[in-house]
C-alpha cells in the first residue's frame, strides 16, 4: 500500500466506481418488490434503491481492493520471503471507522423518516378487523357491519387493520402492499393493549392480490391464504351490500386445510 502511486490509486477508484455504477444500474432497474400496490410501497422502493447504490459501493470497494491485492501481491512460485512489516496506519483506520459510521447513521435517519412517512395516519380511514386462525382468515367490517373470508377494499382508502389471532401467532402480508404485521393471540384480552396490533396501509392499484401468512403457524402454514380485492368505491359498496345479506354463521372461521388449500393447484393449471 505504501508504494501505491497516485495513478494506481486513481485506477482503483475508477474501477470501484465503475463497478458500483454497473451493479447499481442493473439492480435499480430490476423491479425487486414486484408490482406496485400501495402508497406506502413507493418510499420503501426509493429507500431500497438508495441502499442498493450504497451497498454496491461498499461491495465494489471491497472486491476491487481484494482482487487488486491478490493480483499485485501474490507470491511468486518459490518465494518464501515475508511481506512488509506494516502494523497499521492510524489515519486509514480512523477513515474506515468514521465513514461506515456516517453511512449507517445516514441509513438510520433515512429509515426513520421513511418509517414515519409510511405509518402516518390519513384523514380518510376504513377500519377492518382481521382475525387469523389455523389456517384461515376472517375480515370484519365494523363500519359496514359485514364479515367475509375475502379482504375487499376500496382503492385509495387507508385501511386501519386491527389484528388478532385466535390460536398461535400469524402474520399479515400482501406482498404488493409491502406492509406486514404479526397477529398475536391475546390482543383483544385484558393486558393485550400492550400489543401493537394496528397497522395501516393504503392500497392504490385495483386488482386481485393474496393475503399471505408469513409466520409459521403449523402444518397448513403454506396454504394459509386469502384473496384480497382492491376495487373502486362503487364496486366495494356493492360488494358490502351483497355481503350483508349473508347470514353471520356462514362466514368460515377456520377449516382443515385452510381457505387456501389447493390454491397452488389452481395456479398451475391457469
Amino acid at each position: 500500500m505504501k508504494d501505491m502511486t497516485r495513478a494506481t490509486f486513481l485506477k482503483l477508484t475508477a474501477a470501484a466506481i465503475g463497478m458500483t455504477v454497473l451493479i447499481s444500474v442493473v439492480m435499480v432497474n430490476i423491479d425487486w418488490l414486484g408490482m406496485d400496490g400501495s402508497t406506502e410501497k413507493d418510499p420503501i422502493v426509493t429507500l431500497l434503491n438508495v441502499m442498493i447504490v450504497l451497498s454496491a459501493l461498499v461491495f465494489s470497494i471491497v472486491m476491487v481492493m481484494m482482487i487488486y491485492a491478490i493480483w499485485k501481491y501474490r507470491a511468486k512460485p518459490g518465494d518464501e520471503s515475508d511481506g512488509e512489516p506494516i502494523h497499521g496506519n492510524t489515519r486509514l483506520e480512523i477513515v474506515w471507522t468514521v465513514i461506515p459510521t456516517l453511512i449507517v447513521v445516514f441509513a438510520g435517519v433515512y429509515s426513520t423518516i421513511v418509517l414515519n412517512d409510511i405509518e402516518a395516519e390519513a384523514s380518510n380511514q376504513m377500519r377492518v378487523d382481521v382475525t387469523a386462525q389455523q389456517f384461515a382468515w376472517r375480515f370484519d367490517y365494523p363500519e359496514q357491519g359485514v364479515s367475509s373470508t375475502e379482504l375487499h377494499v376500496p382503492v385509495g382508502t387507508q385501511l386501519e387493520l386491527h389484528l388478532n389471532a385466535l390460536d398461535v401467532v400469524h402474520s399479515f402480508w400482501v406482498p404488493e402492499w409491502a406492509i406486514k404485521r404479526d397477529l398475536v393471540p391475546g390482543s383483544d384480552l385484558p393486558g393485550g393493549d400492550e400489543i401493537d396490533n394496528v397497522v395501516r396501509v393504503t392500497p392504490d392499484v385495483e386488482g386481485s392480490y393474496q393475503v399471505v401468512c408469513t409466520e409459521l403457524c403449523g402444518w397448513g402454514h403454506a396454504t394459509m391464504r386469502a384473496a384480497a380485492v382492491v376495487e373502486s368505491q362503487k364496486e366495494f359498496d356493492a360488494w358490502a351490500a351483497d355481503q350483508a345479506k349473508i347470514p353471520e354463521g356462514n362466514v368460515s372461521t377456520g377449516a382443515a386445510g385452510g381457505q387456501g388449500a389447493g390454491i397452488y393447484d389452481n395456479q398451475v393449471t391457469e
Partner: protein, 637 residues
C-alpha cells in the same frame, strides 16, 4: 463383563443410560400411581413418562461414562490423586470414545462429533430442497416438511456451528497461549459429553408420536407450547447443548485469563484467542436465556404453567424477547470465532502481520457490547411496543462498523504481503470475505425497519442467514480445519481435493443462496412446504445448486478421512506460521510443551528481522537464541 461395567467407559455409560431411563420412568409411574392419576398421560403435550426419562437417561449416560467419578470420590472423602493423568491423552482410537481430559483429544472429539451432525443436518437440508424443487407436494407432507427444516436448523446451530468452534478452540487455544491444558480439564470433558446428548434428543424426536419438533428452531409460543411431544425433545436437547456451551465458555475465560504463558500480555494474544474471549463472554451472558425460554415452554407444556398463554394472562411476545436475547448474540457466537480463525490464516498465508491488530481486538469487544442491545430487530413486525424499533435499528446498524473494521483490516493485511493461494485454508478465508460481505450488506438492509417490514419472514431472510452462517461461519470452519489439520492429525491433506471442495462450495453457496434474495423480495414467504407457481423456476435452480453444494461436501469428507489415514507426515510448522502451536511437533506431545514457553513478542511478526513470538526454556539454555536472523526480501514488490 462385570469389570467392563464397573470401569468408566461406553458399556457402563449405556448401562447408566438404561438405569437413568428406568429410574425416571419408574419415578413418574410410581408418583402418578400414588396420587391416583392416570399412569400414562398421553395428551398431546404431556407424556411425563417420556420427558422425565429424557432428563435422567442422559444424566445416567454421563455418570456411566465417568464424567463425575473424580468429583464423586472427592465429595465422598475417598482418596483422589490430583496428578492422576490416567484419563489424559490418547494412544488409539478407543481413547477417543471414552472420558478423556486431554484438550487435544476433546478438540478432536468435538470436531468429529459435530461433523457427524453436520452431515445429518445437511441430509435434512437436501430433503427440504428436494421437496421445494417443484411447486406442489412431492416428497414429504407439510407436517414432515416443518419437522425437516426445524431439525435442520436446530442441529446446524446447536450441534454444529456453535460447538465446532468450541472444538477447534479446544485444540488450538491452550497451545496458542502456551498452556499445558484447559483450566478445568474434567469440566471440559463433561462439556463435550453433554453435547451428543442434545443431538440424540433432537434426532429422537423423529420417533415421537406426532413427529419431530416442527415449530421452527425459533419455537415461537404458543405454537410450540401446543405442539406434539417432539417439541419437548427440543426443549430438553437445548438444555444439554446449552449447558455444554456455557461450561466450555467459562473454561475458556478462566484459561485465557489465568493460564497464558509468561510474557503473553493481552496485547500479545493471537486474534483467535481474542475472538474466543469475546465469544465466551457472549455465551456466558446470553445462553442462559435460551435455556430459560425453553424451560418455560417445557413447563407450559408439561406442568400447565401459563408463561405464554394469553388466555390465562400470559404474554406471548415475551417469549420472542427472551428467545432473541440469546439468539441474536448467538449469531455472533457463531461468527466471532471464525473472525479469529480467518485472522490467523490470512496473516500466515499473506506472510504479513495483521493490519491494525489492536483495533481488530477492540472491534471484537465492540461487537460483544452491541450484540446485547440489538435483539428486537428480529421483532420489528411482531407487534411489540413500537418505540423500541428505532433504537434497536440504530444499534443494529452500528454493528456494521466494527464488522467493517475487520474486513478492511484483513484487506490491509493482504496489501504488501506475499499471498500464497496454493493453500485451501487461505482460499476459504478469501472466499469467506467475498461471501460474508454480502451477508453483511443484506444484514444492514434487514436492519432498516421499512425494508424489514417487507422482507421479514420471507426467503430474503433465509438468504441472509445462510450467507452469514454458511458463507460466513461454515467457510471459516473449513478454513480453520484445513489450517490446523496437519497440527491435529500429524498428516497433510490433499490440496487438489481441497481446491475442488473450495470451488464447489463457493459456487454452490452463491448459486443456492443468491436467488433466494430475489424470490423473497418478490413475495415467497419462508418455512413453506409449497409455494406459488411463479417461483418454480428459481426454486429448481436453487435446489440444483443445493445438491451440488451437498455433494461437494463428500469430497471434503473423503479428503479428511483418507489424509488422516494415509496422508504424508506433517512437519511441525508446514505453513511457516508464528504462533506457539506451530513450535511443537504435529501432533503435539501429550502435555503440549517440552518446557514452558516464554512469549517475547507479538504473534504476527512477519518480516520483522529477528522477531520471535515465543521461545522455550530448553532453547534458551542451549543458546538457540543466537540463531541467524531469517533472511527477507530486500526490495519491496
Amino acid at each position: 463383563m462385570v469389570a467392563a461395567l464397573k470401569a468408566p467407559g461406553q458399556p457402563r455409560a449405556l448401562l447408566g443410560m438404561l438405569v437413568g431411563i428406568g429410574f425416571g420412568f419408574g419415578l413418574v409411574v410410581a408418583l402418578r400411581a400414588i396420587r391416583g392419576l392416570e399412569i400414562f398421560q398421553t395428551e398431546q403435550t404431556g407424556y411425563p413418562h417420556v420427558i422425565v426419562p429424557g432428563i435422567t437417561g442422559p444424566i445416567g449416560y454421563l455418570i456411566g461414562i465417568g464424567c463425575f467419578d473424580y468429583w464423586f470420590r472427592w465429595a465422598a472423602g475417598a482418596p483422589t490423586v490430583p496428578e492422576d493423568h490416567s484419563d489424559h491423552g490418547a494412544d488409539g482410537w478407543r481413547d477417543y470414545l471414552r472420558f478423556n481430559t486431554d484438550h487435544k483429544v476433546i478438540g478432536i472429539q468435538y470436531v468429529c462429533t459435530t461433523f457427524i451432525f453436520f452431515f445429518i443436518g445437511g441430509a435434512l437440508a437436501m430433503g427440504i430442497r428436494a421437496e421445494l424443487a417443484q411447486p406442489g407436494t412431492q416428497v414429504v407432507d407439510p407436517g414432515l416438511f416443518n419437522g425437516l427444516f426445524s431439525t435442520h436448523a436446530a442441529i446446524m446451530i446447536f450441534l454444529f456451528i456453535v460447538p465446532i468452534f468450541a472444538g477447534i478452540a479446544n485444540y488450538v487455544l491452550p497451545l496458542m497461549i502456551g498452556a499445558p491444558d484447559m483450566a478445568f480439564p474434567r469440566l471440559n470433558a463433561l462439556s463435550f459429553w453433554m453435547l451428543p446428548m442434545g443431538g440424540i434428543l433432537f434426532l429422537a424426536s423423529f420417533l415421537a408420536p406426532g413427529g419431530a419438533f416442527d415449530a421452527g428452531w425459533t419455537g415461537y409460543a404458543p405454537l410450540s407450547t401446543g405442539a406434539p411431544l417432539g417439541q419437548s425433545f427440543f426443549n430438553l436437547g437445548v438444555q444439554f447443548a446449552g449447558a455444554s456451551s456455557v461450561a466450555t465458555a467459562l473454561n475458556f475465560l478462566v484459561t485465557i485469563v489465568t493460564m497464558r504463558a509468561p510474557g503473553m500480555s493481552f496485547w500479545r494474544m493471537p486474534l483467535l484467542v481474542w475472538a474466543n474471549l469475546s465469544t465466551s463472554l457472549l455465551v456466558v451472558g446470553a445462553t442462559p436465556f435460551i435455556a430459560g425460554a425453553q424451560f418455560m415452554v417445557l413447563l407450559d407444556r408439561a406442568l400447565g404453567t401459563n408463561f405464554f398463554q394469553a388466555a390465562a394472562g400470559g404474554d406471548v411476545i415475551s417469549y420472542q424477547h427472551i428467545f432473541w436475547f440469546y439468539s441474536h448474540p448467538a449469531v455472533y457466537i457463531m461468527m466471532l470465532p471464525g473472525f479469529g480463525i480467518v485472522s490467523e490464516v490470512i496473516s500466515t498465508h499473506a506472510r504479513k502481520t495483521i493490519f491494525g491488530y489492536r483495533l481488530m481486538a477492540l472491534a471484537l469487544l465492540g461487537i460483544v457490547v452491541l450484540a446485547f442491545a440489538v435483539w428486537a430487530h428480529h421483532m420489528f413486525v411482531s407487534g411489540m411496543f413500537a418505540w423500541l424499533r428505532v433504537p434497536m435499528m440504530i444499534t443494529t446498524l452500528l454493528i456494521a462498523v466494527p464488522t467493517g473494521i475487520k474486513i478492511f483490516s484483513w484487506l490491509g493485511t493482504l496489501f504488501d504481503g506475499r499471498i500464497h493461494l496454493d493453500n485451501t485454508g487461505m482460499l476459504f478465508a478469501l472466499g469467506f470475505i467475498c461471501s460474508f460481505i454480502l451477508g453483511g450488506i443484506s444484514g444492514v438492509m434487514t436492519a432498516m425497519i421499512p425494508l424489514d417490514i417487507h422482507i421479514s419472514d420471507t426467503y430474503f431472510i433465509v438468504a441472509h442467514i445462510h450467507f452469514v452462517l454458511f458463507g460466513g461461519s461454515v467457510f471459516t470452519i473449513f478454513c480453520g480445519l484445513y489450517h490446523w489439520f496437519p497440527k491435529m492429525t500429524g498428516r497433510m491433506y490433499d490440496e487438489r481435493l481441497g481446491r475442488i471442495h473450495f470451488w464447489g462450495t463457493l459456487i454452490g453457496t452463491w448459486g443456492t443462496f443468491v436467488p433466494m434474495h430475489w424470490i423473497g423480495m418478490e413475495g415467497m414467504p419462508r418455512r413453506v412446504a409449497d409455494y406459488a407457481a411463479q417461483f418454480g423456476d428459481w426454486n429448481l435452480v436453487i435446489s440444483i445448486f443445493a445438491f451440488i453444494l451437498g455433494a461437494v461436501q463428500l469430497v471434503f469428507l473423503y479428503n479428511m478421512v483418507t489424509s488422516w489415514r494415509w496422508g504424508p507426515r506433517a512437519p511441525a510448522n508446514p505453513w511457516g506460521a508464528k504462533s506457539i502451536e506451530w513450535l511443537v511437533s504435529s501432533p503435539p506431545p501429550r502435555f503440549n510443551f517440552p518446557s514452558v514457553p516464554r512469549v517475547v513478542g507479538g504473534p504476527y511478526e512477519f518480516g520483522v528481522p529477528g522477531a520471535r513470538h515465543a521461545i522455550f526454556e530448553h532453547e534458551e539454555e542451549a543458546g538457540a537464541l543466537a540463531e541467524p536472523v531469517p533472511e527477507r526480501a530486500t526490495t519491496p514488490a
